[in-house]
Symmetry: C2
Subunit: 367 residues, 2 copies
């Protein structure tokens, strides 16, 4: 057993895992490549059928004039903000305090691009029109992340979103969508990707969240914007001679899963309800608005870990591989529904939550 991470180890050893599409192993790439003729030519520095076809397909899906494939969203989004800032000669943007650029990118936006971010809204909720209207400083671009991942994947109502979009257009503020999980929110809004993206000047989407590819992202927008993004892609070192391993897998799993987002969403609601029936457990959001949510336990992390490990051993079903501490008395984990969930026999699933509830009650009474 991996002594460093016994929960992860116990999770991996279960027969069924609730979240995700399955193990991130080499077979994910192998499966995608099996569908492709070996004679297909590699893309070469952003050119060639394999990359151009995919860029055209996704641009069309998003309802944008043009799109560019990037190795990562980190690269794509910094570049999007840089282009909008340069266009207005104002190196200021606004985004949520828990935006990916603020907490996961080692300040790349500031250190590579000299762009200053204004943090909007509280950490616990999504950005509203009021936050944008009340902003005192002038900005070039507002970034909205839909859903707001770090708070369990919350969303504003569509009308709020449309109002923010209108306000930004009136004020000459570019609106950029961090759509890392755009596919996943369409069932909640009951809108097409094109309808959502029409509210934004530029859009980034990811292919290894709900889609389950290997890595990679698309940045979409007007042609002059995407043309400029290719220059910056080269500057960042992202214009690889060959990106096809990511493109082929993105395309393969996009076709396989883009129409399953409604199913994942319904399953997320079902699963969240099961969690919420357990003692000391609450999901955020209470009812998911996509395939994801967070599960909070008013139990110390070091007490919950052995409970979960025993649960996995008993039931053969894994809930999560890692817990994050909120405080001495609270911890949480993230759930993303993918292809795994539906494989679990429903009577076994009910048994897991019955047992989890029981174990939590017993542990709290002992305390």
């Amino acid at each position: 057993m991996n002594q460093e991470n016994p929960l992860l180890e116990a999770f991996k050893e279960t027969e069924y895992q609730i979240p995700g599409h399955g193990k991130r192993d080499i077979s994910v790439l192998k499966e995608a490549l099996e569908t492709i003729d070996g004679q297909l030519e590699s893309d070469v520095y952003g050119n060639g059928k394999v990359i151009e076809d995919f860029q055209e397909k996704i641009a069309k899906y998003l309802g944008k004039e043009s799109s560019v494939f990037f190795p990562s969203g980190t690269m794509a989004q910094q570049i999007a903000l840089r282009i909008w800032c340069d266009q207005k000669s104002l190196q200021k943007v606004a985004y949520h305090p828990l935006c990916h650029l603020e907490i996961h990118e080692e300040d790349g936006l500031k250190k590579l691009h000299g762009i200053e971010p204004i943090l909007l809204a509280d950490k616990e909720r999504v950005i509203t029109l009021k936050d944008v209207v009340n902003m005192k400083e002038e900005i070039s671009c507002l970034l909205l992340e839909l859903p707001q991942r770090e708070i369990g994947g919350q969303l504003p109502e569509y009308e709020e979103l449309a109002a923010i979009s209108n306000y930004c257009r009136d004020k000459g503020i570019k609106l950029h969508l961090d759509g890392a999980r755009l596919f996943e929110i369409l069932p909640f809004y009951q809108k097409t990707a094109e309808e959502i993206c029409s509210l934004f000047d530029s859009v980034y989407v990811s292919f290894y969240k709900g889609i389950g590819g290997i890595a990679g992202a698309i940045l979409a927008g007007p042609k002059d914007f995407t043309d400029e993004s290719k220059v910056w892609k080269r500057r960042h070192g992202g214009d690889l001679i060959s990106l096809y391993p990511y493109i082929i897998s993105a395309n393969y799993y996009f076709d396989q899963r883009v129409n399953k987002m409604e199913q994942y969403y319904e399953e997320a609601k079902e699963l969240a309800a099961l969690y919420n029936q357990c003692y000391c457990v609450k999901t955020v959001p209470l009812e998911p608005v996509s395939n994801m949510f967070h599960v909070y336990f008013t139990v110390p992390k070091n007490e919950l870990e052995p409970i979960l490990r025993e649960l996995y051993n008993e039931t053969g079903i894994g809930l999560t591989g890692s817990l994050r501490e909120v405080s001495n008395s609270e911890c949480y984990f993230e759930v993303n529904i993918g292809d795994q969930y539906t494989k679990i026999p429903s009577e076994r699933l009910k048994k897991v939550f019955f047992s989890l509830d029981k174990r939590l009650r017993e542990s709290r009474i002992q305390v």
Copy 2:
């Protein structure tokens, strides 16, 4: 036929191609993956067996304390220079006027890192100790590219290299190796990679030149340097959730080809001699010092193209897919020897050069 690029089209249709390892198609990745068990876990954001093992293997091969896998050399090298500049609080480096960072990266070094390059030496020759000693400005880091690709892959003598290294150490100038083709020069120097790299503080090597992988690079140096490079890798958007498609292929083709560099080097000398026997043709260098060289023709590009196309059709052997214009009366192309060369029957090879010589003489007499 591809009307936009008839020479490339004619080249692709030949039975044998002289340069390279073969077509850059998907089968290159498929072949590498066939050797790998599908259950092997993906690397995850720079961690995991697949990336750590390879980094350790290459660090050892280069004789460096530590190494980091990067999606591209563009990213790795900008980051190396940034770290050395930050360490000295002096945003100035020196390199050759035809350095990759100067001519192929859209000024990423300047626009992302605010680093000013001093251009050393003339465009036609490699950097000498004298160039370094005579430099008036203070710099943090000197970058040497071995071999200097854009002038046909030229090299300084080893003693000159060692003298530059000593001088830089004395003066507190960090020395960085652009070793995109490091493996390829070892037979000329009759040194190990470790011996060459010991002259440098940091080293970048590429896995899709002589090695023939899909893409990817390694940056090697002291542990604190490579640790810092990981932070910048994330800032650049290069810390992908999975880099294994590049790592697996880099490792596979490294094992297959790293010991074939002597063969490629001998073949390059043989082939250059065949070119140099032709009318109006001269290679740079006259005798190659690695697997690469440039072939210059004192013939206008638009006159040479149909001659080559006819030659390919007649002999079934392709010399190059593209010509670059030097002036109205001169053009050139680059040759890199790989696995293809040795497959060509030698009598057919001789016939090609006999025919090329004849065609060039006839065409020049007509003029």
